[in-house]
């Protein structure tokens, strides 16, 4: 059984259905990208895994069925979600944001060590550790969101459009750091992106979502190299 297995996932916002039976899987230590246009259901897929929307279907993580759990319990299993819009605690300091990321953990020495390692990945956060997080730039807030997720020592990271609204250079920087994180920590990642070209560079596998359904999936290189798919779905 795969590390993360999603079967027949449906999601609803009140009466409106947003996902119509999504299936995909993710292997331990791998990076999988979920691509698609606006409104295809990418964000909803992540929210459904974290039980933030009403869902039907099966989500199994590391042999455990997630359906029916609260969001907090899912997080407790080691799934860190870097949400759309970054979810910064704007009135709290950078350091407090990172501490919150480690909320479910107990060992203080480990937490302190991990915080230093986050500052290692993102030196700019280290320079601003006492600063109110709301005063950071967009790129720094994205770094903080990833750093906050790392503080969980996650087995799986869900990343919702880390490139959103950022300058190309910053996007480049963030993706390089993500690659380094995978290399060093071996963290599995489920990555949602509109910026398909950069996501496909990082990811091992990719799925293509259209109006709440998976229309295509496979190795990233296949999607990247297939001229037709690239033109009609990925737009670059």
């Amino acid at each position: 059984m795969a590390f993360l297995e999603v079967r027949g996932l449906e999601a609803y916002y009140r009466q409106t259905q947003a996902l119509f039976g999504v299936d995909f899987e993710l292997d331990e230590g791998s990076i999988t990208a979920v691509l698609g246009a606006n409104g295809a259901g990418k964000t909803t897929t992540l929210r459904a895994i974290c039980r933030m929307v009403r869902t039907e279907g099966e989500v199994t993580f590391d042999g455990q069925e997630l359906t029916g759990m609260s969001t907090e319990r899912v997080v407790g299993l080691g799934i860190a979600h870097v949400p759309e819009g970054r979810g910064t605690f704007v009135r709290q300091s950078v350091e407090e944001n990172l501490q919150l990321g480690a909320y479910t953990r107990k060992n203080k020495a480990d937490i302190a060590a991990d915080m230093e390692s986050v500052y290692g990945y993102f030196p700019r956060l280290g320079e601003r550790r006492r600063q109110q997080a709301g005063t950071l730039s967009g790129g720094e807030q994205q770094m903080l969101a990833i750093g906050r997720a790392l503080m969980l020592r996650p087995k799986l990271m869900l990343l919702d459009e880390p490139s959103f609204g950022l300058a190309p250079l910053i996007v480049q920087e963030i993706y390089e750091i993500m690659a380094r994180i995978r290399e060093r920590e071996g963290t599995s990642m489920l990555l949602v992106e509109q910026n398909a070209s950069i996501a496909l560079e990082l990811a091992d596998h990719a799925y293509l979502l259209e109006t709440g359904r998976v229309v295509m999936g496979g190795e990233s290189s296949l999607l990247r190299d297939d001229e037709d798919i690239r033109r009609s779905y990925l737009g670059y």
Partner: protein
């Protein structure tokens, strides 16, 4: 000059009680965006609990600590049982639940303990080892104790893991859930803390105004006025606001004709005045209206 100093110091004492109530109000406001109109009656009820414990022979300090603890539990239970069902209901429904609570506490207190006024012992000794014509021992104790309590509360929020989680849950519930914070329980904890802080206010004010079921109406209004003056988005501001309001109340009572009779009206004027001229309060942020 002595009179002025006396008034000011007594005002600070009363004001620190208002600060407790204001802080309780602001805590729940920050977590839920709502004013708990029952805050005053809950504090009154806590005070009766303390009074009963004293009657049963408990030393007044023990009664105080027990009542504060019981209030904490009661606050948690009230949130989980009574407030939670309307968590996502329209504002009016929530206000009505608070009003319902207010009425229930008031009526049940009158039912159990009757509406006659009762003297309540001060937590502080008559003789502090020194004498001052400017401030009495109870007032001095009130200032010291509330400052201590407020410092504790701030330390809790500033330096503890749960305090940080509570702030996070209040500021950004979705994000808080995503780091594993149980937002519902943080709200309940907030209610518990607010009830405890309110209880401190009630027990401190009871020796001054005498214990009776309606004793908190005025205190709650001044607490609201203090919270608004300081800014409902700023706990520190609320505390300062409470102190300022307490001093103002005493000055107005002494120097403005009719002021001593119209204390509630003065609170009303303060509330409306702040809302109209400085809605964010002195230290608060302007809340941007969401479309």
């Amino acid at each position: 000059m002595d009179l002025f100093l006396q008034l000011t110091l007594a005002g600070l004492a009363i004001g620190s009680i208002y600060s407790c109530v204001a802080l309780a109000v602001v805590m729940i406001y920050q977590a839920t965006d709502h004013f708990n109109f029952a805050q005053g009656e809950m504090a009154m009820f806590s005070t009766y609990v303390a009074w009963t414990l004293v009657g049963l022979g408990a030393p007044v300090w023990l009664a105080f600590l027990l009542a504060v603890g019981i209030s904490f539990l009661a606050g948690v239970i009230i949130e989980r049982v009574i407030v939670k069902p309307v968590e996502n209901a329209p504002v009016l429904n929530q206000i009505i639940v608070f009003i319902g609570l207010l009425v229930i506490f008031n009526a049940v207190a009158g039912w159990i303990w009757e509406f006659t006024i009762k003297p309540f012992p001060s937590l502080f000794p008559e003789d502090l080892g020194f004498k001052s014509t400017l401030i009495g021992p109870h007032h001095l104790g009130v200032i010291a104790l509330t400052l201590g309590v407020l410092a504790l509360v701030f330390a809790f929020f500033r330096f503890t893991r749960v305090g940080l989680a509570m702030r996070a849950a209040a500021a950004n519930p979705d994000s808080a859930r995503l780091v594993g914070v149980s937002v519902g329980w943080m709200l309940a904890l907030g209610w518990g803390l607010a009830a405890s802080i309110g209880a401190v206010g009630g027990i401190l004010v009871a020796p001054i105004v005498y214990l009776e079921p309606n004793m908190m109406a005025g205190v709650l209004l001044y607490g609201f006025a203090g919270a608004l003056l300081g800014g409902v988005s700023s706990p520190g501001g609320a505390v300062l606001g409470g102190l300022v309001v307490g001093v103002l109340e005493n000055w107005v009572g002494q120097y403005v004709p009719g002021g001593s009779e119209l204390k509630l009206t003065f609170a009303l004027i303060l509330i409306v005045g702040v809302l109209v001229f400085k809605p964010a309060g002195l230290f608060g942020r302007v809340v941007v209206r969401r479309v």
